[in-house]
C-alpha cells in the first residue's frame, strides 16, 4: 500500500532522512520507533509531500506520489494526525472535523461524525468549543478524529499517545486497533510509547539519525534485547 524507497529529505543543508526504505502492506499496523530527532516526523511529512523528498520514490497504491502536491496526496486517501496536533485553533470541534472531511463526500459527514464521537465521547460534549481552548488530550483525540473524517485508506499517526493520561493511552491503543480491524484502515504509527505500540503492531521499524536500523515483527522487536535496552527501559512493560 505504501512503499518508501531510498528516500532522502533535507532541511536546507541538514540531511534528515538518509535513504529510508519502508513498506506498509494493506491492512497492517506498522509502528516506527526511534530516538528524538531520528527523523520519524520528517518521514511522515515527506510521505505527504511537505517537505518533499530530494531523492528516492514514494508509492501509494502502486502510484508514484513523490512529486505530488500535498492536497493531491491527501485526496488519494492518506490522512495524518501530525506531530503537535495542529488543531485549527479558532474553529470549533465540529468545524475541525468538517475540515477533515474536506476530501470526502458531504453525504458521509453525519455518519462519520457520529462514529468519531462514538470513539471519543468526550469530543461530543465539546463539539461547539473552539479547538484552541481544548485540553491537550482532547486536542489529540480531535486530531485523530479529524484524520479519520477523510475515510483514509492509510492513516499516519505521529505520537498519538503524547501527553495523554495512562488510562487514556490504553483506550487510545484499543481505538487504533479498532480502526484498523473494523474500518480496515491501514495504520503507520510513530510512537515513543514503544511497548504498547509494538505490541499492537504487525510489524515495526526502528530509526536512528535518519536511517532505518532495524525491522521485524512487533513481537520480534519487543523481544530484542537491544530494543529493550534503548527504548523499553523504565518500566513500560508494567503499564
Amino acid at each position: 500500500m505504501l512503499s518508501i524507497q531510498g528516500v532522502h529529505t533535507f532541511y536546507g543543508q541538514i540531511e534528515a532522512l538518509k535513504g529510508v526504505d519502508i513498506e506498509v502492506q494493506e491492512g497492517e499496523i506498522v509502528t516506527l520507533i526511534g530516538a528524538n530527532g531520528a527523523g520519524k516526523s520528517t518521514l511522515l511529512m515527506t510521505v505527504c509531500g511537505n517537505p518533499r523528498a530530494a531523492s528516492g520514490r514514494i508509492y501509494f497504491d502502486d502510484q508514484d506520489i513523490t512529486g505530488l502536491p500535498t492536497h493531491d496526496i491527501i485526496h488519494r486517501g492518506v490522512a495524518q494526525a501530525p506531530e503537535g496536533r495542529r488543531i485549527f485553533p479558532r474553529m470549533t470541534v465540529i468545524e475541525n472535523l468538517r475540515m477533515g472531511a474536506l476530501s470526502t463526500e458531504d453525504a458521509y459527514f453525519d455518519d462519520d461524525v457520529a462514529s468519531v464521537f462514538n470513539l471519543f465521547p468526550l469530543l461530543h460534549e465539546r463539539r461547539n468549543q473552539r479547538g484552541g481552548t481544548l485540553s491537550g488530550g482532547e486536542q489529540q483525540m480531535l486530531a485523530i478524529g479529524r484524520a479519520l473524517m477523510s475515510r483514509p485508506k492509510l492513516l499516519l499517526l505521529d505520537e498519538p499517545s503524547l501527553g495523554l493520561a495512562p488510562m487514556i493511552v490504553k483506550q487510545l491503543f484499543a481505538v487504533i486497533k479498532e480502526i484498523n480491524e473494523q474500518q480496515g484502515v491501514t495504520i503507520f504509527l510513530v510512537e515513543q510509547n514503544a511497548y504498547h505500540a509494538l505490541r499492537l503492531a504487525h510489524r515495526g521499524y526502528v530509526m536512528a539519525t535518519g536511517e532505518v536500523i532495524m525491522a521485524g515483527t512487533g513481537a520480534d522487536l519487543l523481544a530484542n534485547p537491544r530494543i529493550h535496552a534503548a527504548y523499553l527501559e523504565g518500566g513500560h512493560q508494567g503499564a
Binding site: 511537505n50 492536497h71 495524518q80 495542529r86 485553533p89 474536506l102 484552541g132 477523510s150
Partner: protein
Amino acid sequence: MAYFTQQLINGLTLGSIYGLIAIGYTMVYGIIGMINFAHGEIYMLGAFIAIITFLLLGLAGVTFVPLVLLLVLILSMAFTAVYGWTLERMAYRPLRGAPRLAPLISAIGMSIFLQNYVQILQGARVKPIQPVLTGGMVLTQTEGFAVTLSYLQLIIIVLTVVLMVAFSLLIGKTKLGRAQRACEQDRAMAALVGVNVDKTIALTFVMGASLAAVAGVMVTLYWGVIDFFIGFLAGLKAFTAAVLGGIGSLPGAMLGGLLIGLIEAFWSSYFSVEYKDVASFSILVLVLIFMPYGLLGRPEIEKV
C-alpha cells in the same frame, strides 16, 4: 440636526466605499499575513473598467439604467478579479517562502506598474462620466435645509450591506470559506487535510479584487470623475480603515471603513476640508495607542 443627518448619510456612503476596499486588505492579510500594497490600484482598475463599460454600453445603445448598472458591476468585477488573480500569480506566488520583505516590494512594484500602465493606456487626464443615476428622496425639510438621500447613495449603502452579508456567509458557511480560515490559522495543516492552498490564496485575491471593483464602480458614479492616481489615497484610507478595525477582521474592516467615512464627512463639514485626512489618521494613531490590535482585532497569542 438636519445638517448633521445629511453629513451622516454622506459619511456612510463614503465609508461604505472605504469598507469595500478595506475588506480586500484584511482578507489578504488574514490569509498570507501580508499587506497587498497594490490593492488600491486594483480598485482604480475597477473604476476604469467601469467607465469603459459605461461608454461601450452607451455606444451599444443600452440605456435602461438598472441593466446598465448591473452589467457594469458584473463586467468590472469580472475583469478586476482577473487583475487580482494575475497580481497574486506574479507578485506573490513566486515569492512564497521568501523573506517577508520580498513580496512587499514586488507588490509595490506592481502598484507602480499598474498606475503607469493605466496612465499610458488611458492618459493622465481626469476622466469624466455623464451622470448615470440622478435624483433622490428628500427625507426631511426644516428651515430651508433639505436632507436628501440620493438614489445612488441608497444603492451604495444597500449594496454594501448585501455584499457584507453575502461575504460573511461565504466565509462562515461554505467550503471555500472554511478552507480560507484553515489556511489563515495553519497553512501546512490546511494542506494536510486536502486544501489546495495556492488556489485558496488566489481566490482570496480574486474576492478582494471584485469587492474593490464594486467600490470602483460606485466611486465612478458618485464623483463622476476618476484618474489613474485615485488608487493611492483611497488605498491608503482603506488600509487605515482595515488597521483601525483590526486587520484580519472582516467586520473590523467594514467598521473601520464606516468610521473613516464618517470622520471625513463630519470633519469636512464642521471644521475644515483641508484637514480631513489629518483627522482620520490622527484617530488611527489614537486608537492604535490604546488598542494596538484595532477595534475588533485580536492579539496573535494563542494556546497551541
